[in-house]
């Protein structure tokens, strides 16, 4: 018997010209929780997909329990005792829990035989690991935390000794995340090995025994968690000491530009996503909204931008009421001075098949200055695009190039240039630096501060707490669709973290 549950030797993988994994070595000891951290796009998910047989490595060896294994497909991984909980759950929504757990492990050609056995086994797993879930519930009707539990049960049902969790807390509320951590501890005491992938350092420090850091496709270090610090890991992840402080003057807020009152938003299933939210933003200040992803920030942003209808409440833009419950129209809002950098650049903010210059007018395409007679004035559009390319240093500087061919940072600059150069009154920005390279991050942060200094009211939503703290003049924390509290950027991370976890002002846990 080997000490090591997993050993990877020289794993190498390319997708076309993208070199996702570069000769990676990794050792995971048995019965431990092993964290793997890295920025978005560092190659963590690719590496784990190779381990699970979803992709095949171009080169390198995989050893499980000291034995070399050829993991050609997920079947081979399951046979080797590896289970995986994917970031996006691999569940069939209109199936029951039981059907989902049986899928692929049905025992025989006919279902009846397997069902009884599955029920018994499920009861045993529930008992051993405190993983209660109703086997006859339909997945689509379960909350996210329970759906994840079904994923874990699926892996254990297949006899997994090694459990890989890919960014498991991204969709969880703090309470659900805590529950997950307790389950993982329990699995560890039962002798299971857990590989935990995340880009959140706090989680690494909280539950892992060892941690490996990936950067740009390379494995750069492995540390005992007890012997490292958030600062060291952050430096390893990014490659150099990052300045999370952005230089800025104190804010000099003016008149109220955006006023939100008792805003309530429900999603298509009727679930309340934003619950009676009120706040004001004045000219010349940045208000940041912090919170775990999925606590209503996206819906709030989309509703203010007119992309989504509110159930009730009012929004006032520069003194004029917007019909957020009815026919709020994004193009009308733009004319009234609201600029919107959406969270989802690839699907909302840009049409990737369009040329750069076509994207440079998206949303403003009805502006008379882009028109000559009945037609669009392509020359004026291109000339303006060229000016923005120069001002924002967008590369390559070709307005006729397809947008899909620009890097993430340059794509984001295309959106920013479009929204900021319209001289808006109010700028709302979601996830400004998601999937953006380090150089562009500094540029984008500087532009946001400049907008504030020009007297714009800025609403900033980001799941990166560091970014919120570095840029905002005031911080609102969202939890379960409500504003859990307001803090200044000087507040400690722990204090804001408590609010993000739903502990409201006054110390009472909200629920």
């Amino acid at each position: 018997m080997s000490e090591l549950a997993i050993e990877l030797k020289g794993i190498d993988k390319s997708f076309g010209v993208v070199h996702a994994n570069r000769t990676i070595d990794l050792k995971v000891r048995k019965g431990t929780i092993h964290g793997i951290v890295g920025e978005n796009g560092a190659g963590k998910s690719t590496l784990m997909s190779i381990l699970y047989g979803f992709y095949q490595a171009d080169r390198g060896d995989i050893l499980i329990d000291g034995r070399k294994r050829d993991i050609r497909d997920p079947n081979a991984a399951i046979a080797a005792g590896i289970g995986m909980v994917h970031q996006h759950f691999m569940l069939v929504e209109n199936f029951t829990v039981l059907e989902n757990i049986m899928l692929g492990a049905e025992e025989s050609q006919f279902l009846n035989a397997g069902i009884a056995k599955a029920r018994a086994e499920l009861r045993r797993l529930e008992r051993d690991y405190a993983l209660e879930v109703d086997p006859d519930a339909v997945i689509g009707e379960l909350p996210v935390g329970l759906q994840q539990r079904v994923e874990i049960l699926k892996a254990l049902y297949r006899g997994a000794d090694i459990l890989i969790l890919d960014e498991p807390t991204g969709v969880l509320t703090p309470a659900e995340a805590d529950h997950l951590f307790r389950i993982l501890e329990q699995l560890k005491t039962e002798g299971k090995t857990v590989v935990f992938i995340t880009h959140k350092l706090r989680e690494i420090m909280a539950i892992t025994d060892e941690v490996s850091v990936m950067r740009r496709g390379k494995m750069v270090a492995t540390r005992r968690t007890a012997e490292t610090s958030v600062e060291e890991l952050a430096e390893l992840m990014v490659g150099r000491r990052v300045l999370l402080r952005v230089d800025k003057k104190d804010a000099t807020p003016g008149d109220t530009k955006l006023s939100v009152r008792d805003l309530t938003v429900r999603d298509s299933r009727g679930v309340t996503m934003v619950d009676g939210v009120s706040f004001d933003i004045r000219a010349g200040e940045i208000v940041g909204i912090a919170g775990v992803a999925g606590n209503g920030q996206s819906e709030l942003l989309e509703t203010i931008a007119g992309m989504r209808r509110a159930a009730s409440g009012t929004v006032t833009l520069s003194g004029r009421t917007i019909d957020v419950c009815g026919a709020a129209d994004p193009s009308e809002l733009r004319r009234r001075g609201l600029a919107h950098v959406p969270e989802d650049r690839h699907h909302a903010g840009l049409v990737l098949q369009f040329t750069e210059s076509e994207n440079a007018i998206l949303g403003y395409h009805g502006d008379p200055k882009y028109r000559s007679g009945l037609l669009l004035d392509t020359q004026a559009i291109r000339a303006e695009a060229e000016a923005k390319i120069a001002a924002y240093d967008i590369r390559p500087p070709d307005p006729r190039l397809k947008t899909a061919n620009f890097s993430g940072g340059n794509q984001q600059k295309i959106v920013l240039a479009r929204e900021m150069e319209r001289d808006p009154q109010v700028l709302i920005i979601g996830q400004p630096t998601r999937g953006v390279d380090v150089g562009a991050i500094e540029f984008i942060h500087r532009r946001i501060i400049e907008m504030r200094d020009q007297g714009k009211a800025v609403l900033l939503v980001s799941v990166e707490l560091d970014e919120i703290r570095a840029l905002s003049d005031r911080i609102l924390v969202m939890f379960a669709g409500r504003i859990a509290g307001e803090r200044t950027p000087a507040a400690s991370e722990g204090e804001i973290g408590l609010l993000m976890a739903g502990v409201e002002d006054g110390g009472e846990a909200a629920q």
Binding site: F54, H86, E93
Partner: protein, 323 residues
Amino acid sequence: MDVFQVFIELAQSTIRVSTPLILAALAGLFTERAGVFDIGLEGKMLGAAFAAASVAYILQSATMGLLAGVLVSVLLSLVHGYASITQRGSQIVSGVAINFIVAGSTVILGEAWFRQGGRTPALSADGRFGTLALPFAETLRDVPVLGPLYSGLLSGHSLLTYLAFLMVPASWWVLYRTRFGLRLRAVGENPGAVDTAGISVIWLRYRAVICCGVLCGVAGAYLSLAANGGFTKGMTAGKGYIALAALIFAKWRPANVLFACLLFGFLDAFAIRYQSQAFPLIGKVPVQLMQALPYILTIILLAGFIGKAVPPKAGGIAYVKER
């Protein structure tokens, strides 16, 4: 003629007209529940009808004809599978293409082989599926009420008709009580779940497409070997599309498929029988309205005015592993 006898006769022709619809709609059920949309049911049926009639004529054997029909239909299914599963092409476009290729080639080949203007020669009794008399059908014929019901309605259909009606519970059982069915329904909703469970999405979808081919093959063979004594140009006459409409009308469920097909079959049988008869209150119903009614009903259902038809979630989308 008394009302009861009219009912029996209408019901009988409803069963006859519904048989190919049931088979074709169940064929569509298998492939669409697996996430591969198929508007090529029409073409597969037509191809099968032609192959079945040709082989049945040459070999003087209905069984061999049936096998040939199934074979051709499965081959066409595999073309659709290759285009939409392996090459990830548009499932709609592929289905449209197959319908045209078959519509053209059955006529060209039929004319080249038999020189009867796109028909196959009339089949002898050996080349056809005759009607089966159920046990005691003759003795019970004169029993009041039960007699006509049993001897006149239930008895006296071809083997393929009984097979079609049997396929409804059989399909239900396969889809809901077997491992294959569980996986098939899963792959139409979330192929990622199937893939990560260690099951090949591609092979599973190919098997679903083959099931579709087999059933369409039987449907086509029924048309040329049982309902008619040979193949005529374009003999499916839109039945593949009616079956598609029935499948949607049935919200992709086996038992509903039976009722939807019987309803559409009844409308057709009714239209043929009463095309020039006036009714009290409504007067003469134009036969064209009766013919269009299945499509109109399906559209009303699709529009959500009576219930809501929600297609399999992964339907129409080729599976690509995400990075």
